[in-house]
Subunit: 384 residues, 2 copies
């Protein structure tokens, strides 16, 4: 099932490599990342691409993206240090997390970072103090739009339009450089028109601010580009075409600079998580569902199955008739169940010791692993 | 607020010690663990106590419990190795996870473990093969009962009564030693009568099995004993008194051996997680709630706030009028919000840089930490 995700060469290489490795682990195809990066470049030829490090902070992956010429969106001072250690120049880094300690802002500034995102008065004031003169993006609250995405962003990030314009004025007054508006339509956003709604708001704010003598130059459209899971999305080329159309519709010839922060959309499909079936059980003789327990679980790579939000395609080498299963992880914790409501179908011939191949698991898997929950070690990653 | 949890000597010692430490971190009071262990001993004088290592696998904590004479309930081969490395004899260890690989069963057996818990035919067969002659507990499914608990266990563990009796017969046939029935009423179970309902079932199964020539000797009542959070529970002495009354009511003079597996109930109240307020923001000028962002979050110790299940008491040194807050962690992830629906009240004078003291955080915090989500390191633990 689902093997059209990978060429037969890729799949054979994966099998050959993974055979001798102890499960669970993640394999990342470097070439898939290269292809996807090229697709982003082709789809958005004028955009600057800032890879969202949080999606997968594996050092070999970051080095690869550095070599492709990617910039980096960091969520913490720790991610900054990791990126700088790879020889990335700080002018290729954006500190995109709106929640940051004053001392981390200062440290980032001292290390050369001059691009920050904000959404609150307190943060604007600490930026002015600790990172004087820096370029600042102002993040717009998108709660109405993100609720359609598979992993919505609620109201945690961004502020309302009226507060945003106040913050731009405050930043200018404090000698920061108000540079643009950022928004995020929600992670794994399958409704492309979400970008249209966001850009319409941004357009209005640009005009309003320009009229107030506070012109902005750039739009940071964040991430939200989807990876293919069980529920299909449009291909990236369709996203690019539509979003470029929206940009032209709203801004005509005067399209601002465009920043993108893909994470999942760039590395999600490049990963395959491999686990082993530990146990298959029914709770009574007449139980209609089999419980399939596997050595990867919610706390070892599959955190985004919480609430059954992300539904990964699962491949097994078994064929033939399928039946309903509940898929659960190895820990003594009841929330360590990946799929219960969604009646996943797996072959009836599935046996203890079989391997499960969780496709499209390159993003938001390894870094979410618990440090030692129930004693199990974090997920390993290998690169092909 | 809430400082009646700790004596003023304990609190002052905590402040003195923690002042110079960088947040976030967990402090564990050893003496509180000692008191709680003594309370379990006093309440259940005839029971064998197996500390559920998964609740908090900190090595100094395990060493302390070893010295108190505790036995250990392990969830994985990794936890076994940790406990054995402390010089604990394998006859003080129970492999309580019903989900285990055959090779881990064999390894545990080779290292001396002779006590296992099971709930499926496949596992009984692999126990017979890889751990011949071992004592076995059979876990009864408790879904009707656990749904009242704050952290229920669903159907992931245990099997229905009819399957349980079949498994006992199979185990006897395969020369294992059927030893007892185990159940778990759900973690943080505040309704003591849940044990009554469970024991009534166990009583019936004991009789039925004895009549079939398969007498059992022990009941493993698992954990479920609560820690004090915002929602209060009865004290442990009341739990002990009631549960002992149920045992006498159901078994009269012939009470089986009793095994307990406290985790949260033993170490929960011994911990204080200390975080720093990074940012306080409103999303618009008229926003009724303040967003309080702190450097500990769902992925750094506060995993059990998922679904707002566990509500920790939070102390700050601020006093005076309070107002509603939404409490969120430092990562760029929308599920990293601890309390949003439950309108937590914190002082209006709360300021950026203030410390928050999350009380009763000794269990299911540090070990749940993500290995590096958004670059943030796992939660540190210190012992007082």
């Amino acid at each position: 099932m689902y093997l059209n995700y990978y060429s037969s060469e890729e799949w054979n290489e994966l099998l050959r490599f993974s055979e001798t490795q102890e499960t669970p682990f993640l394999v990342l195809f470097k070439d898939k990342v290269r292809q996807k990066f090229a697709a982003f470049r082709a789809g958005f030829p004028h955009a600057r691409i800032y890879y969202a490090v949080k999606a997968n902070p594996g050092t070999p992956l970051l080095a690869l993206l550095r070599d492709f010429g990617s910039c980096f969106d960091i969520a913490s001072i720790h991610e900054l240090d990791q990126v700088l250690a790879l020889g990335v120049s700080p002018d290729r880094v954006s500190f995109g997390n709106t929640i940051k300690k004053a001392r981390h802002v200062r440290e980032a500034y001292e290390k050369g970072v001059r691009l920050f995102t904000t959404d609150s008065e307190a943060d604007v004031r600490q930026l002015a103090e600790a990172a004087p003169g820096s370029r600042v993006f102002f993040r717009l609250l998108m709660d109405a739009v993100t609720s359609d995405s598979d992993w919505p962003l609620s109201k945690k990030f961004g502020c309302q339009p009226r507060m945003l314009t106040d913050l731009v004025a405050l930043a200018a007054e404090l000698d920061l450089e108000p540079y643009g508006i950022s928004f995020h339509v929600g992670s794994q956003q399958r409704e492309i028109q979400a970008w249209d709604a966001a850009l319409a708001q941004v357009r209005g704010l640009f005009e309003l601010l320009a009229n107030a003598g506070l012109p902005l130059q750039a739009i940071n459209m964040g991430g939200g580009f989807p990876a293919d899971y069980l529920v299909k999305s449009n291909p990236l080329s369709v996203y690019a075409e539509e979003i470029n159309r929206y940009l032209t519709a709203h801004f005509g010839e005067a399209i601002p600079e465009i920043y993108l922060e893909p994470g999942r959309g760039l590395v999600g499909e490049a990963g395959v998580l491999i686990s082993e079936v530990i146990l298959i059980a029914r709770k009574s003789k007449t139980d209609l569902k089999r419980w399939v327990y596997t050595d990867a679980g919610v706390f070892c790579g599959l955190m985004e199955t919480l609430g059954e939000s992300i539904k990964y395609p699962i491949h097994t080498h078994r064929e033939g008739e399928t039946g309903m299963v509940i898929l659960a992880g190895p820990t003594c914790d009841s929330i360590d169940i990946m799929y219960e409501e969604y009646a996943y179908q797996l072959p009836l011939s599935l046996a203890i010791g079989d391997r499960l191949y969780w496709l499209s698991t390159g993003a938001y898997t390894a870094s979410y692993s618990a440090v030692e929950f129930n004693g199990f070690p974090p997920l390993k990653t290998y690169y092909l």
